[in-house]
């Protein structure tokens, strides 16, 4: 076929020109729209990242409320002659655990997930090489450990974890009041808050953790890796520390040593509950950020959850725990401890529990704490505030109960992920018990041999505030207040 070139008419040329112009306009508008969309997306991502930063930052002061609660709780549970010493001890635990977690704790969390081999795990965010790259406050990794305007997550995430560490020290602190030396206690707090709990968290609270990968261990709210570890660490210390003078009679029966200010103690416990909302929100990964579940919140294992789950389950646990303890004890101290026990008993599965089931478990936990504390006491252990029971016994039972109720749930994000099982939770819980108990026992035994564990008998009898605190808790006593105005 032969084609002849045919020139367009003027009209045809005009039409083609107009069409091209129209296309150009549409293309320009389209490009403009794409640019606007990209700008909106950038702003959206930035807003999300800033929200995540603010979210974790907010969890930090809320967790400091836990510390304020423990401070009040311990001082109130002490006799007046030891009130300030208990306060000093608690404040120092906070002060030393934070730098300990900065200088080496953060490295432990990222270095040890696969065990003591320090090798990288399947997700590639663990092991010595990775920890060296992000968690030492010197060298190249220092850029992640200080002000960095391109990194809005590491600092606040570190802060939240540092406060978890401080919480473990606080849990231990109350059990040891009225007879432990201050510096000896601070050393124990550094070991627990900087190393022991962090090791447990690396193993059971990290996507590369060997307990997670091989046992299907799931512990959303850290019942095992925080509460069990801290409580059994305290038990290890208590074995070497011994009971307060006057706690046990010659025949082995126990005497009650009431604190000097029950209202202060109960208020402190309520503050701990408030702080727990910060603790538990920090257990969540913010939606839209790395390792979150699509655009939604996720657990530290990458599995889906949200703040609504916490709202339902934490509140039901508080209610159940108080009721359970009230039924058995009628005592406000145990009732508020019951609230704590209620939360701890279901902490492993706050992400997936049904609220009514939470309520039932929490009632059981609240009812159990006083009888369980009596067993500890019968064994000759003087746990002044019931920490071993509330955090240890209940935490362990909570981890195991979750293994029964949540069998078959994927413990981790991803295809072929290990599933929750009774055996996995039982073994994981026992690992937490063994880790805490062994570390606490060995560290306190070393301090005992160095003469740094227990205060002298005469000092304990005189009252520790008189011995070493240059201030007086109640310089005017606790007088009856002046009569009201007419």
């Amino acid at each position: 076929m032969v084609h002849f070139l045919k020139w367009p008419t003027v009209q045809e040329a005009y039409d083609v020109h107009s069409k091209r112009q129209g296309n150009d306009i549409v293309e320009e508008q389209f490009a403009d729209l794409l640019a606007q969309l990209a700008a909106i997306e950038t702003k959206g991502n930035l807003t999300n990242t800033m929200f995540a930063e603010f979210y974790y930052y907010l969890s930090i002061p809320l967790m400091i409320i836990i510390h304020a609660g423990f401070l009040a709780y311990e001082m109130g549970a002490s006799r007046a002659k030891n009130a300030l010493t208990s306060g000093v001890k608690n404040i120092l635990a906070f002060a030393f655990v934070i730098p300990a977690f900065y200088f080496f704790g953060w490295w432990v969390y990222w270095g040890f997930p696969t065990g003591l081999s320090l090798s990288a795990g399947p997700n590639g965010i663990s092991g010595a090489v990775y920890a060296n790259a992000i968690a030492w406050p010197w060298g190249e990794s220092a850029s992640y450990m200080g002000p960095n305007i391109e990194d809005q997550i590491d600092g606040v995430f570190w802060g939240a974890f540092a406060l978890f560490g401080a919480t473990t020290a606080s849990i231990m602190s109350g059990a040891l009041i009225e007879r432990i030396q201050t510096v000896g206690f601070v050393i124990l707090a550094i070991i627990l808050g900087g190393f022991t709990w962090t090791l447990a968290a690396a193993w059971g609270w990290h996507s590369d953790g060997w307990m997670v990968q091989s046992l299907g261990f799931h512990d959303f709210g850290a019942a095992g890796v925080v509460h069990v570890v801290a409580a059994f660490f305290a038990l290890g210390v208590l074995i070497n520390l011994g009971p307060r003078i006057g706690k046990f009679n010659a025949d082995g029966t126990a005497n009650d040593i009431p604190g000097h200010n029950m209202p202060f103690t109960v208020t402190g416990l309520m503050l701990i509950i408030v702080g727990f909302f910060g603790f538990l929100m920090a257990c969540m990964v913010v939606g839209g950020e790395a390792w979150s579940w699509g655009g939604n919140y996720a657990t530290i294992y990458g599995t889906p959850s949200n703040l609504g789950a916490l709202s339902f389950n934490v509140l039901m646990a508080v209610g159940g725990g108080i009721i359970g303890a009230w039924v058995v004890t009628k005592d406000p101290f145990w009732m508020m401890s019951g609230a704590l026990a209620g939360i701890i008993s279901v902490a492993s599965g706050l992400d997936v529990y049904w609220p009514s089931l939470v309520f039932i478990i929490a009632i059981g936990a609240g009812a159990l704490i006083k009888p369980a504390a009596a067993i500890v006491e019968k064994a000759g252990i003087d746990d002044a505030v019931g920490a071993v029971t509330v955090h240890g016994t209940i935490g362990f039972l909570g981890v195991v109960v979750f293994g029964i109720t949540a069998t078959g749930y994927p413990a981790l994000l991803g295809e072929g992920a290990p599933t929750v099982s009774f055996i996995g939770q039982l073994v994981g819980g026992l690992v937490c018990v063994a880790l805490g108990l062994s570390n606490g026992y060995v560290a306190s035994l070393a301090l005992k041999m160095l003469g740094m564990l227990r205060v002298p008998e005469a000092a304990e009898l005189a009252g520790l505030d008189t011995v070493k605190v240059p201030a007086q808790a109640y310089p005017e006593g606790i007088p009856v207040s002046a009569p009201p105005a007419e």
Partner: protein, 56 residues
């Protein structure tokens, strides 16, 4: 220590902005901080032991 970027202007700056960035100073300060913790605990232990002396 000085501003870690040349020229001394915030325009175009990104990443770490802390004092001593890129030098050995962050590590040095960290070592000093750790050393202070040890020194304070040792000193604290000595003071505590002294306070118990009259109760031994």
């Amino acid at each position: 220590m000085g501003f870690p970027f040349e020229p001394a202007a915030w325009e175009g700056v990104s990443g770490p902005i802390f004092m001593g960035y890129g030098s050995a100073l962050p590590g040095l300060f960290s070592v000093i901080g750790i050393g202070l913790c040890f020194a304070i605990l040792i000193k604290g232990q000595m003071a505590e032991a002294k306070s118990y002396k009259s109760y031994m």
